[in-house]
Amino acid sequence: MSVTASSWHAAAQILRRDLTLAFRRPGEWLQPVAFFFIVTLLFPLALDPELSHLRRLAPAALWVAAMLSSVLAIDFLFREDGRDGTLEQFALSGQSFAWLLLAKTAAHWVLTGVPLALAAPFAAIALGAPADAIPGVLASLLLGSVSLSLIGAIGAGLTLGLRRGGALLSLLVLPLAVPTLIFGARATELSIHGESMAGPMYLLAALSVFGVTVAPLAAAAAVRISLE
């Protein structure tokens, strides 16, 4: 009786749905960005605020703040859809479950990774980075946040349905994200010093590719178990 929906169509619908929902409550996707700004600002406050000093710290502050706000945001990736039964319906929709979750992760990246990357140059300048570093900072965070979102999706799947997912989530995700942090911070540092950042960027790209292939499968396995 009916034309079945292709997997691309289904993924596009999920993307549209999640973006629609987010734009109905703009406060929500602005929060991780605001969090990011606040955390980067805490550093100068806790230190004696000399700019020359701060600049050496900038990559670390940016990346630690980015990772934390990414972990904070990822907690919501599946939580609501799990609670209200939507994920059950995804699992029963006849589409590949991992694929649908990848679509959700992509929407999440658009809503948190991209704004984060756009915000990072401002924070970098506030921490004393030169204006020339802007494209480099932006690029490294844009690429790094892809793998952060993907790694986060695994953690979100594993902690779905737990009462206090948040803290456990960071315990699981942050160790997995250590390589991203190291290469990302290195890329940002090189760009602040005006050097070529190709090396760490290739490694970040490799991490993202690896993440795209592995993370949805792991997340789907974990979410399916938590639906029982």
Partner: protein, 192 residues
Amino acid sequence: MLRGLSLRLAEGQALQLLWPNGAGKTSLLRAVAGLIPVEDGQLLWRGNRIEDDRAAFCADLAFLGHDLALKGDLTAAENLHFSVSLRRRLAGGEIKAALDEVGLGTRADALVRQMSAGQQRRVALARLGLWGARLWLLDEPAANLDAAGQAVVVAALARHLAAGGCALISTHQPLDLSASVNRLWRDPKEAA
């Protein structure tokens, strides 16, 4: 948890499980849907083992659990649109018609968040109809519904059965389905 059960549903047939609290109605429905693993025993759909082609089984299946899978921040029409689109492409006007059938025609553009528990359940019923599945698994579909709401459930089920579908329903009060093939099952130990 449940043992020694055996049941068979034919086209146009509805089976209502009237078991007491904690007997395993919810668990049975979720196991049939494939949401919890079946430890022992097998499920057949149209003569094939479900594990062999889960996608085909899912295409024929509509599951309505305790959680309605509705987004409070989307309107009733949007909710129906997004959830049905995962399964099939919609023609124009279908959603409006489905909402009319459950008595929510005028509230298509209201946010689900602002609806009462009973109205939300009606939206979920409208979705059931749109999916066009053959087998409905309904867990307490009449919970939170007043008399008018229960009539909506009964009417939706009647349409579905008349069109050759079948349904497995858990309830605490039997629904008065006029379909001749409606059966009640009051105790899990009784054979169906």
